[in-house]
């Protein structure tokens, strides 16, 4: 049993499908972040899910999916500024990585067309 079950969580959806749980988070959060299955929260819970796994932020509360094999998917809410900060940091790192991969650099090195004629030839 994960430590989450010992915490003061709120349940927003119970025994539903993963798709419905994801849609609930997307529609009812102020900020939505997407993580890979296996993303670790609260020390010992590894998120179970079909990618893309949505996680939401609403005020001080983090919304996330919790799956139990015999009971389906739940949408839980837990107040955690620490976990919300980690989510935002994770997203910022993803953006940095994308920028490092260099789509901007590649575009910058490509010479700009000088005329319409040249653009047609491309």
């Amino acid at each position: 049993m994960s430590c989450i079950e010992q915490m003061k969580y709120k349940l927003y959806l119970e025994r539903t499908s993963f798709r419905e749980a994801r849609e609930y988070i997307e529609k009812n959060s102020e900020e939505v972040y997407y993580v890979d299955p296996g993303y670790k929260i609260f020390k010992d819970y590894y998120i179970i899910g079909v990618p893309p796994v949505a996680m939401g932020v609403r005020g001080r509360e983090m919304l996330f999916t919790y799956v139990k094999p015999c009971h389906g998917t739940f949408v839980m809410g837990l107040d955690s500024e620490e976990e919300i900060a980690r989510l935002r940091e994770n997203e910022a790192n993803k953006i940095k990585k994308t920028m490092k991969k260099g789509s901007l650099k590649e575009k910058a090195t490509e010479p700009a067309p000088v005329s319409f004629d040249e653009m047609y030839r491309k």
């Binding site: 994960s2 499908s17 993963f18 798709r19 890979d36 299955p37 296996g38 670790k40 010992d44 590894y46 179970i48 899910g49 079909v50 990618p51 799956v67 139990k68 094999p69 015999c70 009971h71 389906g72 998917t73």
Partner: protein, 149 residues
């Protein structure tokens, strides 16, 4: 033969009768083919398995499914092939998780009353083995036998 290779069998909720019978059958078949087999499941599923195989004749290694996810994510363990048993959306969600975190070749073993619809809903990379089997294991067993190990 597949000496030195490892296989993970992931059990879903144990409420559909064919699952336990097929887990034992497939574990035995894999072991005979040379695989080191681990079976992961919920506490209830593992208890059912141990009660059916008290001397660990068919299955030597068992694990809690959530702990297994943690071990794979933390790169403490991984497998060459993984069979995820599923008859519900939750089972399918676990299968998708193993597909995302493990380098193993994935098989989705889909059974139960809604096997066809559930099989169609799977959109992660996996080979699907789908049979509308609940009490009679043979439709699923026949399809498992066609998998080349």
């Amino acid at each position: 033969m597949s000496e030195g290779k490892s296989a993970l069998l992931v059990m879903g909720c144990p409420e559909v009768p064919v699952q336990m019978s097929m887990v034992i059958y497939l574990a035995h078949k894999l072991r005979k083919a040379g695989y080191d087999v681990t079976v992961a499941g919920t506490d209830a599923a593992v208890k059912l398995l141990k009660a059916a195989d008290p001397e660990s004749y068919y299955v030597q290694k068992t694990a809690d499914v959530d702990e297994m996810i943690g071990e794979i994510v933390e790169k403490k363990i991984d497998f060459d092939i993984c069979f995820a048993f599923m008859h519900s959306d939750a089972g399918m969600t676990y299968g998708a998780t193993f597909s995302a975190i493990s380098r193993a070749k994935m098989y989705a073993l889909v059974f139960g009353k809604n096997a066809e619809a559930l099989g169609e809903s799977i959109d992660y990379p996996t080979e699907k083995i789908v049979a509308k089997a609940t009490h009679n294991p043979n439709p699923l067993k026949n399809k498992i036998d066609k998998v080349i190990l």
